[in-house]
Symmetry: D2
Subunit: 479 residues, 4 copies
């Protein structure tokens, strides 16, 4: 297993083509806007070396028998699934943001199941190929980006009918040694912090779309891959040079548009190729795993609750009954989310491949709640924090001899509370509810792993309505 | 294990002193208002004999090694805890009401822990005594009533300061062969369907209240115990003689005020006696188990959802997008509840006595949601059902030659839908949202196992706020 | 203006054909289940004679210049509209139930507008005919039932395509002196307490449905009209003879299925006849008025809040911060409803006929909230009240020498609180949240004046989305 | 009435002492971060000259008889109050942000009442003095900042007991020609765009606090007044020089900490001086007016709804039933807010001074909803908009030849939708839900005009609970 330092060094060796603010980033790792997101991934390496977290953060590989970072593990038991949820909460709490590495783990697990299933039907050898790749990832302790969401163009049309055929990523050439693909993947969390990128289709497909039914893995710096980093609320605060106004001093996230401009994929990295009838299944299995992964938001919720309790104490309002009640409500909602990610794991099951999958219904129910409760937690946090969370003068005002005295004097509450500390905790709350972390805690909670309606459709499909109707009819005498 | 028939017969042998509508009930079992509640308990016996439910409904006794009804089992593993939740959902779905038997199970489990803990501190022999009693209950497959809630009189005063000392049940005499107690227990679900009644204190106590710190078990027909059955919404419909208007044809619930009028308890049935410092612990452990038990409402929710889908189909509205969305929301909320009762079990732990207890925080979070979601499910069910759920003419109108034709004609929707069936499902929805079952599905969900504020207090106490604050402070640089 | 006594006497003179529980009711007025609903209507007569309510309860007729009961008035100003909302709240608070008389008022007002509009297009004389009828209603101070909702049969088919053509009320014969109609109207609130019944179509219609585009008024006891009274939760408690268990001692509501079995309507009572293109407009105008009428639920909410505060005081919990907060929330929600019914009136407008109509958008918004907030108020009321609201023994137990002492002793809270009073207020809360009044406060709030989706459709139609989009585009530079 | 241009020129003549980012701002008006907020205020001048808005935007002064900008008007009728609400919605929609000028209007109106009341009790001449000042403000068409919120230091202590006596603004010296004050006011919206600042106390006071019971007006550039501008989410985007990424191209808001460092106030500008018993009343009256002023958020909501509908159309999802339903819900919530600000105006009343005040209860109910619904509107807007709202690359990426083609290609949806327009509307939604406008639309909605608990306390105080209890008791027979 790599250390955080080794991870950072390994990233420096990548030759990614990354654009941000219209210019190519020559040093991705040290860019002040990207670096906090690298730090967050690095934390997934660092904690794996902490003895007190070993049980949660590591596992024993079923392919090699070696102890590995759990983020590269394929779940072999219910216990693995439960620990995955706990790892998400732990890291959410440690970083206060999206730590990005779950998506690759979820892609690996989904492929471990679906490659097996394709082989069972078609007599192909995808699973064997995949397991070799898995061993390679585990050995190198790679961070993988799991890339699913296509641009989708006109949402009313299937892939093959789009005016621009590249609106869904597809095979444009088949060669002796591999395939050539074109297209793009949107909203790629942690893209430029990843060694590898694992591509999957984004929707169910029919035969006409078979060129779009493709899954593969590549190094992040393969020829033809281009990254365009997205903007986040308050992104440039990270580059201002201070250490208060960004709220979260070390950690953040990023998303990128990833363009595949005629990229070559060798055969040993191809895990699905035109088996269109498995596209939907891969999407669903990946989605269920990834919906479970929103366990992380419970950890971010812990940070927000901790910050809220702290500002209440700094403000001197922590004993007011309505303040206490709001913090109880925050905890209640946050732990309700926790119940979801634990239950979908606890109710998981063994797939034919030997991999354990989560309970689909409950994973969708969990994620659906994630699209709601963080918004309410944010609202309550802002309620408790007070208006200063958005009217606080800046760090430079606090450092300036012209204004520091006014801030020290008029932002003072109780004698033992440092004004600087009060500013820091307010900035963290701003960060989580409006700033860079809000991108992950709110909007990503809404749309990551599928927008709310996607979960509703899955809930509708997976509940056993007939059984419920039968029970109802029996009780009232309908025969 | 008894069969349902044996259970019924065993009840006939009891000589309970039961009052209802101001008169003594001479035949409790056959009383039309009580009988549906007896039927619901009987279902807990019947299902234990169904092979397909054996895994859920039965267990192997850790005291005797015999296969027993799970309702008399003391949980020996996480798996036992999870199955308890599933048993609750199963029976809720089978009966569409409160089946009453969980409270005794929860009392047995709580006492298995606390008698052990008292002994550890005081060198007493309560646990040994309790285990004998447990073996007796298991052997006879008894239904036990777990009796906790005292009348409480003036809520601002502790037990010993009440103007009327009997507002909390207490010891009034100590004899060589046992003790004499006086007081009452309110809201006793299933009281008159129980063989035994297990009494526990209702709040934490201090030394002054030590006479109130008493726990014991007695046969339900012990000398001096009097039951006064409470009224429920629509209770008398059960006695009208038809088979539509009551909605749920076979099952219901009941609650009773249980008076202890100088009742003698032999020593071998006494499990706590003046160890006031354990009163609060017994309450909390019982409460956590019992909050988990609200798993049953998920099953009742299944019935309501099934009924709602059915009326939508009967009305011909089942494909309208807003109807489908409301039913998805019902399922989403119901499964969120399910996550809670699974998670608090899955995250349970072994106590020193060997009994497994649920996760206190998550059990409280679960119950808190139970105080909310069934109300919203009911609202949505009424929305989908249409106004007829409360304006439907009665069964007698349907049977009368004067009016039947009008009902047949004007309550008709689609050709293949029988008007009678439509009436039946509407009555079931009425039953669950306004009628006898609403008492259990709504108000008992609110107050059973403790009112919402009790859960909020426990949530507040059990979350680790310091850890959250530490995480927040670290992230924003507060040292 | 009639007195309450005169109103009662006038009802005795009607010869209504009413069925309930499968039998014809020979004395409607004195039937214990119907009478409370008659009492509620009578209150609309009584309060009109109270000087302190004159301003709200009466108006000056624009046709005769006489002072009339406002329930027979056609609104001549914004002030009239606002007072209508206030009258609704007042009477809701006075009766704690549905007082039934608003629907006729709304029918009269809607017809005053639409008859005028039809005449303007077709050169007919409906408005003149209607004004004569209005003067007759005002002079006699009649209660009118406004009958809109048809059975609708297969909801996917328009009226003329139904397998049974009578699923929507329609003209079956045209005679020299009038027309003959057949069909039924469902959920008719207050039907058997009304002197007159005013029929309107229930949906928009196309030319093929022109025989269904009919509106007219008739005496309630016209030949061929049959009433079948619907059952309500806890209906038979009213007939038990006590005076506690029914909760609301004097007032209630009722709904009936009204069958028109080839009923003759003379021409001077016909207000729309095959002008199908006005059917939708009549529905919408009536619906907007009637959605405003749910002002009454604010008054019922006042009663529920008052009862909740009272039980908190009786329980001794009124100072607990969470109890106070819940009661604040109840008030907040109730007053939010009040804002809706005031605002839709305040933003009303003059129609070509001279009648003032409410703001359609805001009336729909108001009603939409009414489909939500009373449910939450009920939930909160049950939370504050405690479990006894559904486990309380009955009045007969309280009167019986065998059990009274137990109830007196164990339902006692604070010294000055009478146990009987505590029982009474609990029964009132039960009545409002589960019993007969819940039918009106909850389910009728959901479906009366149109189910929630009907309001959503109207909201969607009436908001000016283009204007909003224009504003948004301008701000972000889209040209 | 000034034009927008004259307003801008008038600001240039002020010599304000403003700090931002630790440095003194030499040119406030043209500072790129401040200017959008100036533009928003300027819009209040500009619209007053548009004939189609004259009715809403202007009024006739009751002191001079001249036509004036409504923002300087003292309400003389219910109609004035209603138009004030409509003016707020109009300007919210025009600017998509906080336009800042309402607070001064509310201060003027509150003082018009309270100066009169003080005079009535104490025989002082405050009202006369105030009316002169009012005429001066009206004549010059000034923008006034209404300054209420003090820093408050230790929230558990009253003003006079604070360790630092300046935590509440107070009189430190009385001179022949006036008084000298010291202290600060927090969160001052629009402070540096105002000609005048009107200071009021922030809480009820007792005699010991009489030096804190002071109200007065001063020019914004009076000697000793210092402004420190607060940071907002995404504030520096306004200074980046583009015209997409800031979302709202022209308008924004700002808040400042305003320090009064021994500032002299001449007697003719003092409107309350040590009449401590009127401090609470001034706070309450101002607060009610200012809670009504949150009518503006309805207009901002209009913008957000318009943007949401637009992005749905651009995405091609506008016909999906769940999208339509979410937009209906947004409208429903927004119009519910509108009902509140209309109803509290419509139910207003004449004060002894002749000024019309809003209904206190309903104004508080309105504001309470404002602390909730905009958050839900934001959540729904993000749901509909899709994840791109937070992952969209920047304007510079769009302008760069290296990346523009990728963005044009992969952000394309339907043929007729310009990618640039799609980016613009997404940025506007980001602005409103996470960016600078979110500060006003969300957090200011929470805390402006008092935090939610302040409204709850007022609701609790102003509802007539006795009347409700009387109604409840009467109905259930409690005498």
């Amino acid at each position: 297993m790599m250390t955080a330092e080794q991870y950072e060094e390994s990233l420096r060796k990548l030759n990614l083509v990354v654009y941000m603010f219209g210019e190519r980033l020559r040093n991705v790792v040290d860019d002040p806007i990207i670096r906090p997101s690298m730090n967050a991934v690095a934390r997934t390496y660092e904690l794996a070396h902490h003895p007190e977290h070993e049980d949660i953060m590591t596992a024993v590989s079923h392919v090699t028998g070696n102890r590995i970072n759990r983020f590269t593990h394929v779940h072999q038991s219910i216990d693995d699934l439960v620990k995955k949820s706990k790892m998400g909460r732990l890291l959410g709490m440690e970083t206060g943001c999206c730590f990005q590495r779950c998506v690759g783990m979820d892609a690996l697990n989904a492929l471990s199941i679906v490659t097996y299933d394709i082989d069972a039907k078609h007599g192909t050898k995808y699973n064997e190929r995949f397991l070799k790749y898995l061993a390679y990832v585990q050995k190198n302790d790679f961070t993988c980006d799991g890339a699913m969401t296509d641009p989708k163009g006109d949402r009313s049309l299937p892939p093959h009918s789009q005016p621009d055929p590249d609106q869904f990523l597809h095979v444009v050439d088949e060669r002796k040694d591999g395939i050539v693909v074109r297209g793009a993947k949107c909203h790629q969390t942690g893209a430029v912090n990843s060694h590898e990128i694992i591509v999957m289709p984004t929707i169910s497909m029919r035969e006409e779309d078979r060129d779009y039914a493709v899954s593969f893995a590549l190094p992040g710096d393969a020829q033809g891959i281009v990254y365009v980093v997205g903007r986040q609320s308050c992104d440039t605060r990270k580059a201002e040079g201070g250490n208060i106004d960004q709220g979260n001093l070390s950690f953040g996230g990023h998303e990128a548009l990833v363009v595949f401009d005629n990229v070559f994929v060798p055969w040993d990295r191809v895990f699905m190729y035109r088996e269109y009838e498995f596209a939907g299944r891969l999407v669903e299995i990946f989605a269920s795993y990834h919906r479970q992964s929103y366990a992380c938001k419970v950890g971010v919720g812990d940070v927000l609750i901790g910050a809220t309790q702290t500002i209440a104490e700094y403000n001197g309002t922590e004993k007011a009954s309505h303040i206490r009640d709001k913090i109880v409500e925050m905890n209640h909602l946050n732990e309700t989310l926790y119940c979801g990610c634990i239950a979908c794991a606890s109710e998981g099951q063994r797939e034919p491949s030997g991999t354990y999958s989560v309970n689909t219904l409950l994973a969708n129910v969990h994620k659906q709640n994630v699209t709601r409760f963080p918004y309410e937690l944010s609202r309550l946090a802002q309620d408790v924090a007070g208006g200063l969370v958005v009217t606080l003068p800046g760090e430079k005002d606090f450092r300036s001899p012209d204004t520091r005295e006014w801030l020290e004097k008029y932002l003072k509450t109780k004698p033992h509370v440092s004004t600087e500390d009060r500013m820091r905790i307010l900035r963290l709350i701003e960060n989580l509810t409006l700033g860079t972390a809000a991108v992950g805690y709110l909007t990503e909670s809404m749309h990551g792993a599928g927008s709310p309606q996607a979960q509703r459709i899955m809930i509708s499909r997976t509940v056993n309505m007939k059984e419920k109707q039968k029970a109802a009819k029996k009780l009232c005498g309908i025969v």
